[in-house]
Amino acid sequence: MTALLRVARLVAASVATALVLGLIVRASAAPLPFHDGQAARLRLSWSARPERIEVCRTLSDEELAQREEHMRQRVECDGRFATYTLRVESDGQVIGETVARGAGLRHDRPLYLLREYDVAPGVHRVRVSFTRREKTDDNAAAFAKTTSTEADTGIFAGRAQREEVERARRARAAIPAHLELDTTVAFAPRQVIIVTFAPERRALVLLAGGSEPR
């Protein structure tokens, strides 16, 4: 290979290398559009246990006698988990309405909610309501009235009380039958405002990046 050819190849190799490197560097951090426009976003996100709706009844002595000994429980409850209607309004206009239920095939897992709505920047009146769809009495209270300790003797002693406590705890942990947030919010361009459920306050609250929940 002549010296001239060697130099030419060196130049070509350098140019090709620089070109390839430039392409890699460029492609490695290409500014890919993500959120077009100036729209802000209202994001609803929370998880909570749905209410357990139960129908309880007291078993008669005859019924109890027919059960196996280890299954003799005076009060039997059967039920399912509540479903909820989520309704989102902006300046009086409904921008979203959906039914939320617990996760899992039997909907017996906690309820996970994640919804996003684009809104124009500016001040808007936002109203979010989350309402139980099933009409029912307060089952925990109903159950308390029907609790019986008659059959809970021997190895089952105290079970009725324990179940009563557990039911009450579950009722307290469940999301309230009705939640509502009605407020006025100033959306900056590209800002995300989050509505979430605060379990300690048992209410829907607004989060806006750095500010305290309200």
Binding site: A13, A16, I24, V25, A27, S28, L32, R109, I194
Partner: protein, 529 residues
């Protein structure tokens, strides 16, 4: 499938030609795509270990930001890590494409093909988790997309997407799992790589040093000059208009975002299935040129050379079932890729694919080339006979045509590693002034080691060596590299000039080729071990 293979072959030939023009075939990175990918994996592990020391699970974005701001070590280390991942993806992609285009994806190569695809996929997953680790706007975008896709599967009890919603801090457990995957996947890739090359006798894992350090040096320079930018820290309360997206290692992101999760998973499944089924659809009947090698036990002297030369460990030496005191070669058809290297390695010409053993090669010369050699072509008019150019059938047609135009008598072989040295001897002793054997670039040989073994057999006495009686000045080896026809012709012209300075070749009419091979008696292998 054949059309697709041809189209990719043409595309790669163009790429090869451009790269060969710039770097020369010996340093053409496209010929080293597989080894370049492995080298990049090592760079990723090296730079990754450093980055891991300073990464904080509790403050991922801030810790990566600190590294990116450190001009002495952190910034270039991180950038080199990023660019190496890009080159890994590119190199692995080119490697897969080359294997497909050259029809090296089926039969005994199926395991390598499938494991290669898995390695490629693992590399993409690793890159994905790596970007998420930085937890900038791009990492957040990838995490959200991952959450969106995974939530469509009945895997997690709580939707992953809620982690990034902003109603609570992203749990450290998420970053821990993400980092665990980022570290575990490359470790698994090591095992995958072992599987990938497990059928090869002598796998080439790293590129030539000069090329490897050249690539690493170039990437280092890029990392210093153009450090990889870090996006704004992930913030669930703002919508980023753009993100600094890696379109090489995360090329799938723009496509995935446009699809529903179901459509995206369907696309992944269809593409994966199509890629995994390539060996099924690319395979050809294993007859003719693709038939596995066979051994003629009557000729096998048990010299143990063919198992040593076979690039696929497809040959073993076993005890004979007759009373001869030596071993006999046994070909495993499930491992044999019909490269024919064994035919070139066998002095007594007792092994090789059907129609391509040493005997077949000589027989073909006798029936086709020799009348021409003896008659019209070679010295019919009292001129100096033409030089014989033995060319690999995979060589670029334009190069072969150029050699013909120079007056060479072209003799095609399936691979120069398949060529038995007796063929060269026969040409020379029949009056050819010289024989130039033109092979593919060594790292682009579809038989893996053709040019290497040919060189050893011709110049370094490796079995089946070119006999000492053949004047080595009349034999030359050359490389036919796409994009470098000038070098091929220069080598030919130089050879022709050298031959012109020699005496006029003598022609033997009664050539009797003898074969020499030292047998290995039964039991010698056990004693050695």
């Amino acid at each position: 499938m054949r059309l697709l293979e041809r189209a990719f072959r043409r595309f790669l030939a163009t790429l090869d030609a451009v790269a060969t023009k710039a770097y020369g075939y010996a340093w053409n990175p496209f010929y080293q795509s597989g080894t370049v990918a492995v080298a990049m994996l090592l760079v990723l592990i090296g730079t990754g270990l450093y980055l891991l020391l300073f990464y904080r699970l509790g403050a991922p974005s801030a810790s990566v930001g600190r590294m990116a701001a450190d001009p002495w070590l952190g910034a270039w280390n991180r950038s080199l890590h990023r660019y190496a991942s890009d080159v890994f993806v590119l190199a692995a992609g080119v490697h897969a494409l080359r294997m497909f285009a050259q029809g090296r994806s089926w039969g005994p190569r199926t395991l390598a093909w499938v494991s290669g695809l898995v390695l490629f996929g693992a590399g993409l997953v690793c890159a994905w988790t790596g970007f998420v680790m930085a937890w900038d706007s791009f990492g957040e975008r990838l995490a959200r997309e991952g959450g969106r896709l995974l939530d469509a599967l009945p895997v997690f009890s709580e939707p992953l997407s809620r982690i990034f919603a902003g109603d609570g801090p992203v749990p450290s457990a998420f970053f821990f799992v993400n980092m665990f995957i980022h570290i575990a996947v490359p470790l698994a890739m090591g095992a995958g790589l072992w599987l990938h090359v497990s059928h090869l006798a002598r796998p080439a894992l790293l590129p030539p040093r000069r090329l490897m350090w050249g690539i690493i040096g170039a990437l280092f320079a890029a990392a210093v000059i153009w450090p990889a930018p870090l996006g704004a820290p992930a913030n669930p309360f703002t919508l980023a208009p753009t993100t600094p997206t890696d379109l090489v290692a995360a090329w799938w992101l723009p496509l995935s975002e446009r699809l529903s999760p179901g459509a995206a998973w369907s696309a992944v499944l269809i593409l994966s299935a199509a890629a995994l089924l390539v060996p099924r659809f690319a395979r050809r009947p294993r007859t003719g040129a693709l038939a596995p090698s066979v051994v003629d036990p009557r000729l096998c002297t048990g010299c143990n050379q063919c198992p040593q030369d076979c690039p696929w460990s497809a040959i073993t030496m076993v005890k004979r079932d007759d009373d001869r005191p030596m071993l006999v070669a046994l070909v495993d058809p499930a491992r044999c890729v019909s490269c024919g290297i064994c035919a070139g390695s066998c002095a007594p010409m007792g092994i090789g694919p059907e129609g391509r053993t040493g005997r077949d090669q000589l027989g073909a010369l006798r029936s086709v080339a020799f009348p021409e050699l003896a008659g019209a072509g070679f010295g019919a008019h009292g001129d100096l006979p033409p030089i014989v150019a033995v060319c690999c059938k995979q060589a670029p047609a334009s190069h072969v045509a150029a050699l013909r135009a120079r007056g060479a008598h072209v003799h095609a072989v399936s691979c120069v590693g398949n060529l038995h040295t007796s063929v060269i001897e026969l040409f020379v002793r029949r009056g050819a002034p010289g024989v130039i054997v033109c092979g593919c670039p060594p790292r682009d040989c579809t038989s893996r080691e053709g040019p290497k073994w040919l060189h050893e057999r011709v110049f370094n006495d490796r079995e089946a060596e070119l006999q000492p009686r053949v004047d080595r000045r009349r034999v030359r080896l050359a490389t036919l590299a796409p994009g470098d026809r000038r070098a091929t012709l220069a080598a030919f012209d130089d050879f022709a000039r050298a031959l012109a300075a020699l005496d006029r070749p003598t022609r033997e009419t009664d050539v009797d080729l003898d074969v020499v091979c030292d047998p290995v008696p039964i039991g010698a292998d056990e004693e050695d071990s």
